[in-house]
Each structure stands twice: as C-alpha cells, then as structure tokens.
C-alpha cells in the first residue's frame, strides 16, 4: 500500500518540533526510532504548498457526486460521524488541534475536561471506514464529520487520510483554518467544510440509521441490513466521542448492534462487514 500524503507546509512541521522536544525526555528516547522513520517519510512527501483557492459554493453542492458513474445504479453507503472533538486553540505560540494527551494542562486551565477532547477517535473511525473493502469496491459515497462545535466536514472516499495521529492532527488543523484540503497539483477537494444541515447532501431515497449502545432496539447487524430494500442508500450515524450519546433529528431509526459498549471504530467495522456480506464484497 502506498504511503499517505504528508502534512503540507514545512513551516508547520518546524513549529511542531519544539513542542515535541518540550515533552518528557524519556518519551523522546522511546519514540526516537519512530520519529526518524516519520521524518524520512515526511521528507519524501514534502510538497510545495499551493495557495488554497477561496472556498466557493459550486452549483452542485446539493447533489452528491458519486466516485464513479458505474455505481450510480447500485446502492451506496454514507457515514456521518457526530460530535467529533476537532477543535483548534492557541497553545503557547501556535495553533493546535486539542487532544487529551498533549493539552491536558491547557484544557484544565480553561475549565475544560481533557477526557472530552479525543480527536484520535475520529481518526480511528475514519481509518476504519476508508480501509474497508466496501470503500475499495467503490460503494462508499461520502463521509461527513460534524464536530462538537457544529462544523460540518465532507471527506471524499478516495482520500488517503494520514495514518499516524500527529499528521492527521496537522491536516485537520489546516482544514479547520483554511476550510479545505486539496489534492497536490489539482483543484479537487479531498476534505472541505460545508454548510449545515447535513441532510441537504443525503440522497432522497435513503435510510438514516443512528447507532447507540443505549438504544432499546438491539439488532443483529446482518439481519438488519437484509431487511433494507436493495435499491436504497444507507446512511449510518455514529458518535465519534468518548462519552455520551448522539441525538439528531434526521435519523429515522436508532439501533444498538451489540449487547456490549463498542468503540466507534469497531462499530463501523461491524457495519461495513455486514454490508460487505450483503453486497457480496470479498
């Protein structure tokens, strides 16, 4: 598998280094080999930063764009990650994506609970979706992320999300500040912030399903997807937070797919696995 895109902008990379050095010396020693590998990868992927064009609403914003015209007749799946904790703040002299490990002191100083700041959950969830054979077979239409603050992000299914959290945090920081991430050398947007509500981007003939451990309706995922008619697009709403439950007014159904509490990434694995079996993707 080819390597993911690195973080754009060498300046951000340089700024990130001193903050890393400020951590415990022990941790630095442990992760030294990993850091070396990361640096080598980053050097190979270093690209000149092209100025991002001003975000413009194209006329087709209400119509979802399928990755391939061949798939327009087959049902597709859309994932919505709700309550993602993707928040930018100025820590010291630089803007950073807040997370519970690196910014615990900063968050407590601002009367916030560090446990609520878990962008790694969003990262793991995105990797679960984009790594699935369902996506590689072309049946994923799009992924939407709605943050705790209400920002709505669209993720194209062919994007290659950075596989390490640090790089993911860098890409998300750039996305939240510049409102879109483009492919290198192209005008195509891989990630972009879009207007609320998310329902305007969903297909008309679609079934919107919320997932929660606290739902009273416990279903077997394989049985549940087999009850859906074959030509209907499916929209799954998964919470990407550590605690709490999602409450959205656009979901038509609300199910629990396990008797145990599941992590968001494993919940998504179960959904994609069931859809792969239904649509005979091996």
């Amino acid at each position: 598998m080819t390597r993911p895109f690195g973080v754009k902008g060498g300046r951000k990379r340089k700024h990130a280094e001193p903050k890393y050095d400020a951590h415990d010396e022990e941790e630095e020693e442990e992760t030294q080999p990993k850091k070396t590998v990361v640096e080598v990868e980053h050097n190979q992927e270093e690209e000149e930063e092209t100025p991002a064009p001003a975000p413009e609403d194209d006329g087709l914003s209400g119509i979802p764009i399928a990755p391939s015209a061949n798939n327009t007749n087959k049902p597709n799946v859309i994932f919505i990650l709700e309550k993602a904790s993707l928040e930018v703040a100025k820590v010291g002299k630089t803007y950073q994506l807040l997370n519970s490990d690196d910014h615990a002191n900063f968050l407590r100083k601002n009367n916030k609970n560090p446990g609520d700041y878990r962008p790694d959950i969003t990262h793991q969830s995105l990797l679960s979706i984009l790594d699935s054979p369902l996506n590689k077979a072309g049946r994923l239409r799009s992924v939407y992320i709605r943050t705790e603050k209400g920002v709505l992000i669209e993720v194209k299914p062919f994007v290659r999300i950075p596989r390490t959290f640090k790089r993911f945090a860098g890409v998300m920081l750039e996305l939240l500040q510049k409102l879109s991430i483009s492919a290198v050398g192209k005008r195509e947007k891989l990630l972009r912030t879009i207007k609320n509500p998310v329902t305007q981007y969903l297909p008309i003939n679609s079934r919107k399903i919320g997932l929660s451990y606290s739902s009273e309706k416990l279903v077997d995922m394989d049985d549940y997807v087999s009850t859906v008619t074959s030509n209907m697009d499916l929209v799954f709403v998964v919470g990407a937070m550590a605690h709490g439950k999602i409450e959205t007014d656009y979901t038509e159904d609300y199910v629990a797919i396990s008797g145990y509490p599941l992590s968001a990434a494993y919940c998504i694995t179960r959904i994609t696995g069931a859809l792969e079996r239904k649509w005979k993707i091996l």
Partner: protein, 121 residues
C-alpha cells in the same frame, strides 16, 4: 472468548497480552505501557494448545476464502490460532502455520483483518 494474544517483535522476542487487559487508547500512553510487558520464551508454539490450528493471513496468498465459510467447517474442539502481520510492508512468515489464506481481494489494514476474523467467529 479470546484465549491469549501474543505479539512477536522484530528484535526482542515475544510478549503475551492477557485478554482482560484494558490497553490505553492513545498512542502516548500505549508507548509508556509497552516497556513493562512480560516477555515469554520462544518458540511461540510452546504456548499454543495441542489441538490448535494455526492460520496465517496475507493478501499475497493464493487461497482466497470467505472467512465465515472457512471457520464454519471447523469442529468445536479445535482451537484456532490466527497469525496477522502488524507492519506496513511485507508479509508474515512462519514454519509453524498449518494454513495460509487471504480473506479479501483487496489489501486490508491489520485492524480490519482482525475485525473480520472476530465477526466470523
């Protein structure tokens, strides 16, 4: 029910993870815990049950199977052992495997591969 998890490192041997452990969920804390893990003796086969059936998984295998059908033909007194690679490139090699299969026609992340196995069992 997961019986045991063994992690084979590149240079330092094998360590065991008990199934009831609560592994830290963020990378920084996980790195801190790794230095404390107990290293068990090699070869790894001495820790496996006598009735185990060892299956290696690789995208490069010529034997593409549906994992649900594959495990359904096993008898109940068999203890399955799955060998999954957790590196970015390359393939797992071992002379102790009984079978070597591919469970998808696409390359899979290790995590997704493990998810498919857990769902099938």
């Amino acid at each position: 029910m997961v019986g045991a998890i063994y992690v084979k490192m590149d240079q330092r041997g094998v360590f065991e993870v008990k199934p009831h452990v609560r592994i830290p969920r963020t990378c920084n804390r996980f790195c801190g815990v790794i230095i404390l893990l107990r290293v068990v003796e090699e070869p790894i086969t001495r820790h496996l049950p006598v009735n185990s059936h060892i299956v290696g998984l690789s995208y490069t295998s010529e034997k593409l199977v549906d994992i649900e059908e594959y495990v359904s033909v096993w008898s109940n007194d068999l203890s399955p052992v799955f060998v999954v690679g957790t590196m970015v490139n390359g393939k797992v090699k071992g002379d102790y495997m009984h079978d070597y299969i591919s469970i998808s026609e696409y390359p899979l992340a290790a995590k997704y591969c493990l998810g498919m196995i857990c769902e099938a069992l």
